[in-house]
Subunit: 205 residues, 2 copies
């Protein structure tokens, strides 16, 4: 199964249709946009936490996640940062394990287009969500509960330093449907001309 | 906050009461016993998948997970195998991130007590669950769908080679309640006499 060339791959990735169907079919559940993000943390040990799906980047299949730059979610080895999402849809019993290279976009990015994506993601978040980036650093001991509540934000102000956009470019999607016990593995194949195709293989669950 | 000494720690771990309350409060949801298991896979990259909570080991706080020995879920570095669970309760909006050292128990274990635990876990599983360990190796290409269905099992037969019991001994539990925005981190402290205590700290979410 091929997903088209460079221009075509963005909208025709074969796994994207399955994921969109799962999103639509589970849309009545608030948690259907939550998934678990695994990274390799300090000392080479695995780390895992629930994050919110912030949509695909326009005109492509890249997955967006907002994160607090201070919470150290991303793992890198030799300047390549890789993670794996595990996204389980509780109503349709479907699981998507999506892995790929991540682009970490904070305010120091030199790319104007990336900074624009980050700003867009900031304003797309609710004011309540944005407030968390103004609070104390995640994970530090709480000495005064009141301190957390004493944060105010101008709704028209742009992203603060702690706000970080993660953009995952999927390279492999492992799809499992527990209702019919079917499993499909989609792998992106990079071609010599720089374009890419998706290969799909049915494997045992 | 201390959780008692060696004898007492098993039943008085302070996070265990929170987890039991979440399990009870979300028991009406089939998926409340599912969590995501992060490991470090080949090449040092993170891997993540949904697994089923198979209960605590008797008289202690160790968490049991059944797995297929052929699917290579466990990461080890210098003979120490560590993983992190991310367990999100969709109704109560509570997250438990539990990390610790894992004991991988397959049929080759030399410890009779461990083999007994494994056998117990096998018979506690439904016959349908057990059947998956007799099927083709997970992840290998499917050439003949019929092959998967042509598997039979004697319900009184003991665990097959592929059946593996993972036992996680928690060392750190990071609890987050999204309804009241409270976060508590529980850390196990090993004492000089071999016993252990739990330390709890309130941290910013």
């Amino acid at each position: 199964m091929a997903g088209g060339g460079a221009a075509g791959s963005a909208l025709s990735s074969p796994w994207r249709a399955l994921l969109q169907r799962a999103l639509d079919g589970n849309a009545h559940l608030r948690h259907s946009t939550y998934f678990q993000l695994a990274t390799v943390g300090a000392g080479g040990w695995p780390a895992n936490r629930t994050v919110v799906f912030r949509g695909f980047q326009e005109h492509c299949d890249k997955i967006q996640i907002n994160t607090d730059a201070r919470s150290n979610k991303v793992c890198c080895q030799r300047n390549v940062c890789v993670l794996q999402i595990c996204w389980y849809f509780t109503d349709s019993w479907e699981q998507f394990r999506i892995s790929g290279i991540i682009d970490v976009i904070d305010g120091s990015s030199a790319d104007p287009a990336k900074l624009q994506h980050r700003e867009k993601a900031w304003f797309k978040s609710s004011v309540k969500s944005r407030l968390q980036y103004l609070g104390p650093q995640p994970g530090v001991p709480v000495v005064d509960d009141q301190q957390i509540n004493d944060v105010h934000l101008d709704a028209s102000a742009g992203p603060v330093d702690a706000f970080c956009l993660l953009v995952l470019d999927p390279e492999k999607v492992d799809y499992l449907n527990l209702k019919n016990n079917q499993r499909l593995v989609f792998t992106r194949i990079q071609k010599e001309d720089g374009s890419s195709d998706w290969m799909a293989e049915k494997v045992s669950p």
